[in-house]
Structure formats: structure tokens, C-alpha cells
């Protein structure tokens, strides 16, 4: 285990190296959505977010799922992090079923999402200490672990006590990465971790993901719509399109399969559509939030 993650009182089961890190079989998730054009009183209709998705990730792999906004990427991440309950099929993390063994999985998984998601009035150190308590880390442990980890992600030490609301998005995202690593996850779910970052912050975060992978023995599932990021970081790349996983292969195999030079061209060849953002958050599109 790398020095990135501090020692902690660990209850996480030791994952069996023979068992796949992620094993997803025929996973389905359907939300009910009211057609906005049909008005407030129109009946809700089923809207499939994941449609019989099947794939496996072996331990230590970095796999990227590419897809437009609304393709089902965040739904997949939420299902694997026990924040959603599937409608069918099964998903296992290191052999543990995400629905039935949620508490075991919570010790193995952590996540970085597109929104940094912190208590805005609290400082980076306070937010990290708070998150660490949930994993059994005492004030004595976080007193050294938090500054150490913040230093590793390139966070300026003089700003550790500043409220999160005063930090830039790039800074907040570094703190989010530190939070995920503080708990020594063996599966790291990265849901568009660099979206909205300036080019420099994006490169720093990508560099850190590489470092984590090299030193931390973590399996990484990266969901993004950044083709270059996918190509730079992953062992295999898959395209999720309208809830269906079209393939999951090494980048070179994808290009060879479609006889193209770039992943954008591969996306076009696979779906018949241009790869562009549809400007719509996938889950908000499916859910009736204020039900």
C-alpha cells in the first residue's frame, strides 16, 4: 500500500486478487420521467438509464466509460457506490453484491464526482477530517494525515484553513481527490473529475490519477466525455450510449475495429451521431426531483 493513504483502523475486507474488481451483469436501471412538453399532469413514462449493461474490470485496471451527458455514466457510478438500487441484473465489487452487501462495499469504494460537494463554510482540513471520521480515523490520525495528503495533491498549505467557498474549482477538486484517497479505497470511481477545470488544473488532476494508480494499487473506473483524457489514462475504453454499453476494449482495438484514427470518429461510427454534449444532466433528465 502506498504512503498516499494514511494508516487507519481498517475494517475493509481484503479483496481476493482472483475476483474481478467490478463484475456487472445485465444491469438495468429505469427512472420514471414526466414529459415536460406534455405538462405537469402528464403521466410519467419509463426512461431507461442503463439497459442490460455487462462488463468486468480486473483488479488494478483503469477503465474509462465514455458517453455524452445523459448516457447513463453517473447512474452506473451511483449504482456501484450503493447510492442507487438497480431494477435488474447484478453488480459485484470484489465479489460483493452492491445491493445486498452495501455496507461491505462502502469500505472498498470511494468516489470523486463532477461537483466537489463540500460544506462550503468549512475549510479543506475540516471537510477532510469530517469525511475521515466516517471511516474510523480519529483526530489524532487526521492531524498528520490531512496535511500530508493535501500536500500530495498540490494544495497550498497556507489555504488549508480557508472556507471551501473561497477556493477555485480546481482547488476544490484537488480536495475532493484527497478526500477519496484518505479512505484508502481499492476501487476509485471518478465521475467526470476534470470537467470544468482549466487546462492546467486538468493536467494536474490527470497526473495525480496516474500517480494514484501507480502507487496505490487502486482499480479505477473513470467516466468522462473527454476523449483525450480517456485515451491518456485508460487500459480499456467503452462507450455508453443511451444506457447501452456498445463495447469495452483497449483504445487501439477500438480504432482498429472501426478503421478510424480517433475516439471521436469511433463514437460516430458506433452510434451514427456526433460526440457532443447535449447540455443536460443525465439524472435530472430522468428523475422527477421535486416529486
Amino acid at each position: 500500500m502506498s504512503t498516499l493513504a494514511p494508516s487507519r483502523t481498517d475494517l475493509a475486507p481484503r479483496p481476493d486478487p482472483q475476483v474481478p474488481a467490478v463484475d456487472v451483469r445485465d444491469l438495468r436501471k429505469t427512472f420514471r420521467r414526466r414529459d415536460r412538453k406534455a405538462g405537469r399532469f402528464a403521466r410519467k413514462r419509463p426512461w431507461p438509464a442503463l439497459d442490460d449493461v455487462t462488463f468486468t474490470i480486473t483488479r488494478g485496471e483503469c477503465v474509462t466509460i465514455l458517453g455524452q451527458n445523459g448516457s447513463g455514466k453517473s447512474t452506473l457510478v451511483r449504482l456501484l457506490s450503493t447510492l442507487l438500487i438497480s431494477d435488474g441484473g447484478e453488480a459485484r465489487v470484489f465479489g460483493h453484491d452492491v445491493d445486498r452487501e452495501a455496507s461491505t462495499i462502502r469500505r472498498l469504494v470511494n468516489r470523486v464526482s463532477v461537483e466537489a460537494s463540500f460544506f462550503k463554510k468549512m475549510s479543506a482540513s475540516e471537510n477532510l477530517s469530517y469525511a475521515a471520521r466516517f471511516y474510523g480515523m480519529t483526530p489524532h490520525q487526521t492531524r498528520t494525515a490531512v496535511p500530508e495528503l493535501l500536500a500530495r495533491v498540490g494544495f497550498p498549505p497556507e489555504r488549508r484553513g480557508e472556507s471551501m467557498e473561497h477556493l477555485s474549482r480546481g482547488m476544490q477538486q484537488k480536495v475532493a481527490l484527497a478526500r477519496a484517497l484518505l479512505t484508502s479505497p481499492v476501487l476509485l470511481l471518478l465521475d467526470e473529475p476534470t470537467t470544468g477545470l482549466d487546462p492546467r488544473s486538468k493536467l494536474e488532476v490527470q497526473g495525480f490519477i496516474r500517480q494514484v494508480r501507480a502507487e496505490h494499487d487502486a482499480t479505477i473506473l473513470l467516466c468522462t466525455h473527454d476523449m483525450a483524457e480517456a485515451e491518456a489514462l485508460s487500459d480499456r475504453v467503452g462507450i455508453l450510449d443511451r444506457g447501452r454499453l456498445l463495447f469495452l476494449e483497449p483504445v487501439e482495438d477500438v480504432k482498429r475495429r472501426f478503421g478510424v484514427e480517433t475516439l471521436e470518429e469511433a463514437f460516430f461510427a458506433a452510434t451514427g451521431r456526433e460526440f457532443e454534449n447535449e447540455g443536460q444532466d443525465e439524472d435530472d433528465a430522468y428523475r422527477e426531483v421535486f416529486a
Binding site: T9, R32, L83, R106, F119, F134, G136, R179, F290
Partner: protein, 274 residues
Amino acid sequence: MSEFALETRNQLVGLFGIVERNVYLTKRYFLWDIAFMIWTIANTLTIVFIARAVPGITAAEENTAATALLVGGTIWAFLGIIFEFMTETVAWERWEGTIEYTFMAPLSRLVHLFGQGAFAVLYGLIRATILFFAVAAFIGIHTPNANYPAALGLLALASLSFIGVGIMTSVLPLISPEKGAQLGFVAQGIMLVVSGVYYSVSVLPEWMQWISKISPATYALRGCRSSIIDGTGMQWADVWPLMIIAVLATPIGLAIFRTGERHAKKHGKLKRSG
């Protein structure tokens, strides 16, 4: 260390984390706390002064009436804090955007909610104590016979029930992100109306008196008034209903919360929106 001991230790550290977070946030919003405290004192004064306005009563009777009103106002404020903290457990974290991180952490829901309740009780007790003595000093209320330890003991026992009922209301924002918080306030209001905050429950219509029997606030108010005005100890007639409600409310609240959490996860309602 055995796995059970390790798990217990980790859960206790998690509970401490919830309390610690609320301390951090209270520090950051300290000026708001002072403003809210002054507002609560002023509001309670407007109620307690009613005792002075009652014509034809002796000074002793006026003192007793003012004390009864003050106890009502103090417990209203105390309960309000607990309900606010519990009802806002989900709504607050959803607004900050941290809810998914809290719900995917290996912290048991009981510990999570109890941590929130524990801070609310501590914070509410500090505020209630300041409120009680500030108003008593301002108006010149005398409580020579007061048995404060008995009143505090009763309030501590009632707090367990309040947390349990609070857990039931905290599920509402999980099921309906916007309307849920509103319903929480409605539940709090109904509970206080039927519990005899500023009057004896005997003045209520009979059907409301029946509802008052299942409200822990009824027994907390009656017992605290009796301890502070008459100096009585903890009365069994108040203790046993509070114990029963405490024993039942937390598991029932937790079961309701778990059902609501499952519903939210099934329908994708955890995420912040709006």
C-alpha cells in the same frame, strides 16, 4: 481488537465526526446564533409578559403563571432546535451537496442520525438554559422551590423520544426533497399544539387530548413545570410514558427512515437538485 469492537469503535468515531462537524458549522455561523438567541429571548418575553397583564391576581399567582409560561417557551425553543436539526439532516446535506458522500460512507444510519440528535440536544440544552435564566432575570421570576436536576433529568429522558420522533420527520425531505422539509415543520407545530406548551392539556378538545397522550412533549412539559414551580422530583407518571415512547420511537423512526432511504435510492432522489 475483535471485529465487533473495531466496528463499535469506528461507529463511535463517526458519531463524534457528526457532532464535530456541527461544532465547526456553529462556529462559522456564530453571529447568526447570537441573533437567533436574541430573537428567541425577545419572543419568549412577549409570551411571559402575558402573566403580568392578567388582572386581579396576586403577585405569587402572577409569578407562578409567568414561570409556567417560561417553562413552556423554553421547552418550545428546545424542541424546535431538535426538530430543526433532525428535519434538516437530509435537506441541509442535500443543499451543500454532501449527501451522497454521507450516504455512501460506512456509517450506520442509527449512528448518523443519533449523532445529529446528540448535537441538537447539547446545543438545544445550552440555548434553553440561557433562555430560561435570561428571561427569568429580566422579568424577575422567582423559583425558590425549583428542582432543576429533576427538570433536567426529565428533559434528558424526553430528548431520547424527541430524537426518535425527529428521525421519523427527517425522512420526509428524503422522500420529497422540497415538500418534506415543509411537512417536518407542520409535524413540529402539531406536536407542540397538542402538548400544552402554554396551557394545561385539559383545556384542549377531547380528541386533541387523546393525541396529546402520545406526544413526549406533554410529559416533559408537565414534569418540568412541576419540578420548577413545586420542586417535585421526577414523577413516575411522567417518566414511564417517556420511557415507553423513547424505547419505541427510535426503532420505529429508524425503520421509517430506512424505508424512505430505500425509496430514495430506488427513485434516484438522493442527489442535490435545485
